[in-house]
Symmetry: D2
């Protein structure tokens, strides 16, 4: 990138992609069509894929703070597309920080140059909010590991190039590892694609691993649960960020409707109660962006540290990251709830877009840790210890 | 009915119907299948149809207060079915109070004895929250009237026996009439069925009326807009009531899930935060029922008045009726919002019922007057006049 | 009372009392002046005191449902006065249901005929939300009991005629008794009057009991904790009811201000956002009244049962009573919060009444069981048991 | 300042001041004692006064972003003290940007070196939310202006060194000026000090100006209303910031109480519902700080612009500034409301600090523009124009 403002360039390209590929195509995007949709090829061909990967691997090297506006823009078009394009960051962050140089080069360089996806396999049917209950095992066998288990919700795994699997160590059941499994490994089976309420242009899968052999070099260094926790900072911040884009879209739909809709001899847009609600939406949008950017700066600061891997191991979950996800989940839902009542009876039909937006918005508070789980974590880590309070 | 407790009998039958015909059949009920579904025949054959019609016409004669638990029970099973079975009350109330004895006998007695539906055609594309903008006209021609216009949202009209049409008077454009049009009249065309976000076992239609001839005897006495306003009291109270049933269903699903779901070595049901949320749901359910019953008693009291027609003309909209709809719409939505976050990632898939319940619940705040419209009405009618305040 | 409508008469008298004694006297009522204020004499002389006491003891015998409007009216004038006049019901209910005929006659007949107060001494410094931790003891000595302990919050005890003390049994530390102690008994010391944030025309005291001798006939029959729980139904419903009166006063002050206040060339009262907020207040007021009346009817129904004492022992806490208190506490606080922002900068001075009303309103959610305590109780008693759900 | 980290030094000093002068002295601070309290001398002597004034005038030159933590810390001790120390920024910003070099030197240099206060006189009895209704006039007379009028709410004016008065121009009634009037000018009368509900260690006054003569050099350049609007950005951001400090204090009081308070055999601090509420407070605190800092950065960026005066004239009200005030007002109030229910009955007495904190918190949503006024402004300026949306 020779441009002096790589993020401005990127944002311009993202806006163009959103305008041409997403806006106005909601019916198809909402249809649970075959995943991944062809538009991801377009995204990759435009050189946009995996924009956060570092320049030394051939990536654009954009930070998380710059990603806030990128993801807001994409999710203005479609939250499922936004999610699909960024959620690989969960796996790439683990590999980038805790994989060997060989592994980084082997896995991440192609993603930076040619696009592609990775998936993280954490949760299991009985290990959702309590990941320590994971029963998938990684057992030593010869010079490598054998991975077996069943994973419940895993985004992108149906078409990812590789999977980062969190598994219980066969040597020590109190230990967990994070280990890379190529998706085409024998033993990897995509059991089903989940029929999701929203984000229907994305794909989330149930996956079974039946005796998958991988070399020891595929193991990331450090506790698998801690590594996952660290990488969740990035994806949670960007999940929070999708709420901004969806909320902006709801706001703009309301304003367009308000300009058309007659009321008491004027237009709805001149009604004070309408204005008051739109102002509240704008406040929410402004605050959500502030919060996501503040969290992203925290993440970027650690990422730029000479010993980023060590710093992240010490920090684990960032308060700002889970704050962003909780706050944007609620604020986004409030905006979606208000928006869904703005269009009269039409707003209760599938003629208008708002119904899809409400369904898309809902995921922010649910995916990668519900509010109750995160609140509990935040209380224990950042309120009980006096020195961690704000 | 010889039973000393007709409402207890009825409620028992309704529970049986809900258990056998609705619970566990949500996939079909949510599928926007052909309307009306065969189960409405079952409902009619069980003698349950149009339970509020008066004994002198062959009906069960249950009051609105008794209808609260009936509708709560039905909507526990499926809100769309509940809505379909009660929304005829909008038309039957107008006919019952303001139709000639001949009209009442001709239209309502069959509905009481053999079931069947009626539909009310009020809103138009440009006359939703402002019904005074109605452009459908009723013009004198010979000994009768000719009705022409396009109606936007009309529930049940695709299969109703007759339609109560609100139209502008051809004689005086400041006047409106409510006039009965048999659905099989020449000129009545069902233009489309709306693809609704929820309540998908019900049918709401766009209807055009093209030169429909009706005799003068089909005209109800009084201003059409006022008559509609009066009858909306009944349907709004029952719309509010559906929120109770849906909320009860959400609560019970949460409790079932809470008993199964392991958490921190115990069950979710023992978690204090979970208990606190369920307690809040129960408070909401209790209060919604109190509010609906209070409004229903107000309605029943007027209905039992010797000059019910005159009393209702004087009262118009009841404060308690719009209070019930506004309150239950919001409280129901809060419960649905909380409920939708209770099931972890599974709650964001269509495997569980909660997604449908959220979509069903949404209608309470939207149909038959959004909150902004009702708040405005309530302020002008019941807050500005000192004597009308509570 | 020979009038056919005793409650209408009563309400008329209460309105007169409120108008002449309370409205416009807020400065004095808010001043933490000597308690009880002389106006309670006026109240008694008008024959209004303890209006719920039964006719056979010389009382007016008004039910709790009728008391809802009475207390709403009084608290429209001043919540502290309302509280002072009704909170004796906590003790009189226990004596009325579980005292010997002699005790009822001795204690309640004078209160019915001549007015006066009783106080209940339940909570202790370390036994607030957990009354089972009470350390005050009632030990047999000779033909009577000796009561010793320290009670934390007790309303009216500084001027009550008798105290109903909840104490741990000296015979069996797992048992508690409710026992009547005349306030002038040797050993009764009023330690301090609490400086309350609101309700400042009422008096709440810390009391010590140091070897107070009472005859066995002063003991009420049944478990002291259960008896207290039963009587709390009455006081909690009336505490909830005070929120209605305070909210009505806030609403009226807002409307008066809105009529005076100029805005954009008109009056604030014509502003749509203002109207929308006032409509929401009216909805809240309407719903609060419905909820309090529903709970009061539940209480009255049990009270009229031939075996009221036994029925209440079986029921204990009524779901409707704690629902009313929780709901009105929150709704009242929402209204107070909105109201406090309605008057611009003036609303932040002590020139206007709204600051006092906010402070008064706050008590509803705090006194006689905070929301967390009641939610926990409601969950365990009325949500976990399937048959108790609404 | 030779220190490489002036803001760290400052913050350390502020913490020390808060610890020694404010914490534990709430009774006096809440007493509406003589203003200004002697502690402001201590503040000045420590070199802390007016910390934002630029180095070229002898000030510390700290930016608004750095002021966020300073004001949060002060208001952790006492919001009234925080408000008193920063609200001069309203006047100093106007003088700094739009006063002549002579005026800046004459007025601001002493404030930077020796402390002191200035006050802004904007609102009038009939010109609160609509400042364009100001009737105070500034009329040319000889070589100067004569100012006459009555000003309603003016903080610090009872003890300020000079007043910045917003007045209608005598030449053109459509124009307004901002003009400096020394407080000791003949004709300036402090009519009364307002008895405020909270912030009682601060002083807000009603002031009359009766023919006050000032030279033309005292007039600031530009429209008085626009200048006021510009300067309000700074004070509104810092008003928002006080909510952070008060909220942090509430949180810490809750945690201290939670550690002491026994519940169900453990401590309240281990209760999940308690933890959940505290986590929500922490989320609120974190987000408020993010929002205030983002707004402060916006302000600082403009302030550092070579043509700051011109840039501010173009921008006027910053969206981020009113967003911060609205958001922190509401979030702070939610935290205060929750906090006020945390301490059981004791929390309803004046024994505990929480009652004062609730009263202090309330001002954030009221002072310098209520939410309805700001929402209206935000809608018109930043939502209707498409390009201004977030």
């Amino acid at each position: 990138m020779s441009s002096p403002h790589p993020s401005t360039d990127m944002l311009k390209q993202i806006r163009e992609f959103t305008r041409t590929e997403l806006i106005g195509k909601h019916e198809e995007l909402d249809a649970l069509s075959e995943a991944p949709l062809p538009l991801y090829d377009t995204f990759t061909k435009a050189g946009l894929a995996n924009w956060w990967l570092p320049p030394e691997l051939g990536g654009r090297g954009l930070g998380l703070e710059e990603s806030v506006d990128i993801v807001s823009e994409l999710s203005y078009g479609d939250a499922g597309v936004a999610f699909t394009t960024f959620v690989s960051i969960l796996g790439t962050t683990m590999v980038s920080l805790y994989g060997s140089p060989e592994l980084r080069e082997r896995l991440l360089a192609p993603m930076a140059r040619e696009g592609g996806f990775c998936a993280t396999l954490g949760s299991e049917a009985a290990a959702g909010s309590e990941l320590a209950k994971i029963t998938t095992t990684a057992t030593r066998e010869g010079a490598g590991l054998v991975i077996s288990g069943k994973k419940f919700f895993s985004s992108n795994s149906g078409f990812a190039d590789f999977l980062v699997v969190i598994a219980r160590s066969g040597d020590d059941p109190d230990e967990h590892v994070a280990v890379v499994v190529p998706r085409d490994s024998p033993g990897v089976t995509i059991e089903r694609r989940w029929n999701m309420i929203g984000l229907r242009s994305s794909g989330t899968y149930q996956v079974s691993l039946d005796g998958c052999h991988v070399p020891m070099g595929n193991v990331l260094s450090g506790s698998g649960l801690r590594l996952l926790e660290i990488a969740l900072n990035a994806s949670r911040i960007l999940i929070a960020t999708t709420a901004i884009g969806v909320a902006r879209c709801i706001r703009d739909l309301c304003m367009e409707y308000g300009k058309r809709k007659s009321l008491h001899g004027g237009k709805l847009v001149s009604n004070q109660v309408f204005g008051s609600k739109l102002a509240d939406m704008e406040v929410g949008i402004t605050v959500m962006r502030d919060v996501c950017r503040a969290a992203a700066r925290d993440f970027d600061t650690l990422m730029k540290h000479p010993d980023a891997a060590g710093e992240f191991l010490r920090e684990g979950t960032l308060k700002s990251a889970i704050t962003a996800k909780m706050f944007c989940g609620r604020t986004g839902w409030d905006i979606a709830s208000t928006g869904s009542e703005m269009f009269g009876g039409l707003g209760y039909t599938n003629e208008l877009l708002v119904g899809k937006l409400v369904r898309d918005m809902r995921y922010v508070s649910i995916v990668e840790g519900g509010d109750d789980v995160l609140r509990d974590l935040l209380y224990k880590r950042f309120v009980i210890p006096v020195g961690k309070r704000g």
